[in-house]
């Protein structure tokens, strides 16, 4: 009994999930290294090499100047309400749409804003919401208002455009999470005496919540990095001076790339803090399959 019974290396690697197919990951890894990891680390180190002062000078400057640290609050004050508003819009619409037969047509219509891009939507809103735009003219003709409502170059313009461009994404994610819930569960709830509101409250919403947490994070990150609509529709010097504008000004008006990197790092940290908080809360929820059993 001296036969070689050891398992070949290739087979042992395959058992751990490493085989020829694994090589297909290489391009993606290189791409990620070159276009994400490297720039990120470069920026991180750059932020610690200020034009003048110590290693943390950029950060000290940011947090001592209200014109700079104030942008965190301004951005959160935009991004959080926008995320909540898009979710609040997406949930009821998704609940209605999931029961429709011509889902695809409606979904296509709802997705159009995503394909237009933020700049086009912003341009459109400039016309539509302006003092001479349809919106104000209609309200004035109907006698609801006597002078045009100011919806541009302030908080509301940015808010509206973010909701419009963010909604399709939030809606599609919500719809797909909702479609993943076995309809038999709702039927079971109904036969047990639960009305529509109780079925939502006790069955659908708890099962949807983990998905909503993910949707919230993704929508929030999108809204937090707002730039074009904040400049085009907002008041970039005042109420909608978001954090990306601060980074832009540092980089291209002051030509202080180090400071701009520091702002970008702070931006990333704030986003991360919110996302981690939401995901941690999600960890407390039920996250198993949303199906009814072995069916």
């Amino acid at each position: 009994m001296s036969a070689d019974v050891s398992i070949p290396l290739k087979q042992r690697l395959a058992a751990r999930g490493l085989d020829g197919l694994t090589l297909l990951v290489v391009p993606a890894v290189l791409f990620l290294l070159a276009l994400f990891i490297y720039p990120f680390l470069y920026g991180l180190f750059l932020s610690f090499e200020p034009k003048q002062g110590g290693v943390l000078a950029n950060y000290q400057r940011f947090f001592s100047d209200s014109f700079l640290y104030g942008t965190i609050g301004t951005t959160l004050w935009l991004a959080l309400p926008v995320t909540v508003a898009t979710l609040a819009l997406a949930i009821p619409i998704a609940f209605r749409v999931r029961l429709m037969r011509n889902q695809r047509l409606l979904t296509t219509i709802l997705v159009i804003p995503i394909t237009l891009g933020t700049v086009l939507v912003a341009e459109g809103l400039l016309n539509y919401l302006g003092p001479q735009g349809w919106f104000n003219r209609t309200l004035m003709t109907l006698g609801i208002i006597s002078s045009p409502v100011k919806l541009l170059h302030n908080y509301w313009g940015v808010m509206l455009s973010l909701v419009i461009t963010g909604f399709p994404f939030t809606f599609l994610l919500t719809l797909s999470y909702l479609s993943g819930i076995d309809p038999a569960l709702e039927n079971a709830g109904a036969t047990l005496g639960a009305g529509p509101w109780e079925r939502f409250k006790h069955i659908l919403f708890p099962l949807l919540l983990p998905g909503l947490a993910i949707t919230f994070c993704l929508s929030f990150v999108q809204a937090f990095s707002v730039f074009p609509s904040a400049v085009l529709l907002g008041a970039p010097a005042g109420p909608t001076r978001v954090i990306s504008i601060a980074a832009y000004q540092a980089a291209f008006e002051e030509y202080d790339y180090s400071m701009a990197s520091a702002v970008a790092m702070i931006m990333a940290l704030v986003q991360l803090a919110i996302v981690v908080a939401v995901l941690a809360a999600r960890g407390l929820l039920y996250r198993g399959p949303a199906g009814g059993g072995k069916g």
Binding site: D182, A184, L185, N187, A188, G189, A190, T191, L192, G193, A194, G195, E198, H202, I203, P206, L207, Y286, G288, P289, A290, G291, G292, G293, K294, G295
Partner: protein, 357 residues
């Protein structure tokens, strides 16, 4: 406005219909179900049995006819207003709720006080033998246990009617037999009225007080298991109830509930199940276990053996007649393929159906 269990005497389906587009899933089904009965809706897939159940539960609106509980029309009511208990094929347990919460859900929706919910949930869990499992989530239970939770959840509210949609079809054979006995035991303990959908005739025969055989959305026969087993009204019902051999012949003589049918050069007699006239076409229906080889000279169906399978006590044989009709039968001895056999059955166990079918 839920239904009071005590006041219920009978459930009546009155010419109930359901169309899906141009397809009639259910056509004018009329049926009266008494309190305490165990009714099985039996039929092949697509026969309308699940549609009937969903119409009774209120999960699907009817497109014609009505459903009455005594003198009250219930088909306009929403499912949550009907108060029936339903057990789903895939159990449909709420995956984020413990077993206790699942079972107690119906009581909670009815605004039952917490202390009473706890007491009744514990009782129901004991009835389906789930003690000690009640803090778990459904995902942590086996298929059989999940099924018990589904049953407990449906019966704990003491519904006037328990609806079961192929509840055993996801279980393995051994568990299925166990749960079958369990379901009957629970039905007897509660004295509930149960409507049970299945495509398994054995399940229907062993569980039900009465069986409703559906086919293409139409009721073909309603009767006790004994009725259906030995006296099916139609050839297709007979086939579904295990009369797997269908042999075509000409009626030689008929009268007094019996008929003699000529097949090839032999004459076989049996019990006539519908109008059978001498000279007309007719079908013989025979169960494989009633068809046996006889001596070559005797009257019987002439066929050639295709194969035999050993089944422990005897052999199951497959044979083909000259006209291509396939037969299955039981034999004490092994037969070799190609061998000629003559197969005959006790005339009392042969059914004759007139008509072209």
């Amino acid at each position: 406005m839920t239904i009071n269990a005590a006041s219920f005497r009978e459930l009546r389906l009155d010419r109930l219909s359901r169309d899906f587009g141009s397809h009639n899933a259910l056509k004018d089904v009329s049926l009266t179900i008494g309190k305490g009965e165990f009714i099985a809706l039996l039929g092949p897939s697509g026969c309308g049995k699940s549609t009937t159940l969903n119409l009774i539960a209120g999960l699907l609106p009817a497109t014609g006819g009505g459903i009455w509980l005594d003198d009250k029309r219930i088909d306009p009511l929403r499912p949550e207003e009907r108060g029936f208990g339903m057990v789903f094929q895939n159990y449909a347990l709420f995956p984020h709720m413990s077993v206790n919460k699942n079972i107690g859900f119906g009581l909670k929706m009815r605004g039952t006080p917490k202390a009473e919910i706890d007491r009744r949930v514990a009782e129901a869990a004991a009835l389906v033998r789930l003690q000690g499992q009640t803090e778990k989530l459904p995902g942590q239970l086996s298929g059989g246990q999940q099924q018990r939770v589904a049953i407990a959840r449906a019966i704990v509210v003491e519904p006037p009617l328990v609806l079961m949609d192929e509840p055993l079809s996801n279980l393995d054979a051994k568990l299925r037999l166990e749960m079958r006995a369990e379901i009957r035991r629970i039905h007897n303990t509660l004295g509930a009225t149960t409507i049970y959908v299945t495509h398994d005739q054995e399940e229907a025969l062993s569980l039900a007080d009465r069986i409703v055989v559906l086919r293409d959305g139409v009721v073909r026969q309603v009767g006790t298991p004994e009725d259906l087993f030995s006296r099916p009204d139609h050839l297709d019902v007979a086939e579904f109830m295990g009369f797997r051999n269908k042999v075509k012949g000409k009626v030689a003589s008929a009268g007094e509930g019996r008929a003699a049918v000529t097949v090839g050069d032999a004459q076989l007699s049996g019990r006539a199940r519908n109008a059978v006239a001498a000279g007309a076409d007719a079908w013989l229906a025979i169960r494989p276990e009633d068809l046996h080889p006889v001596a070559a000279g005797e009257a019987g169906l002439k066929a050639q053996v295709v194969s035999t399978e050993f089944r422990g006590r005897e052999f199951v044989g497959f044979a083909r007649m000259a006209d291509g009709t396939d037969l299955s039968f039981l034999a004490h001895d092994k037969l070799s393929p190609g061998e000629a056999v003559t197969l005959a059955a006790d005339p009392d166990r042969v059914l004759v159906y007139g008509g072209a079918a």
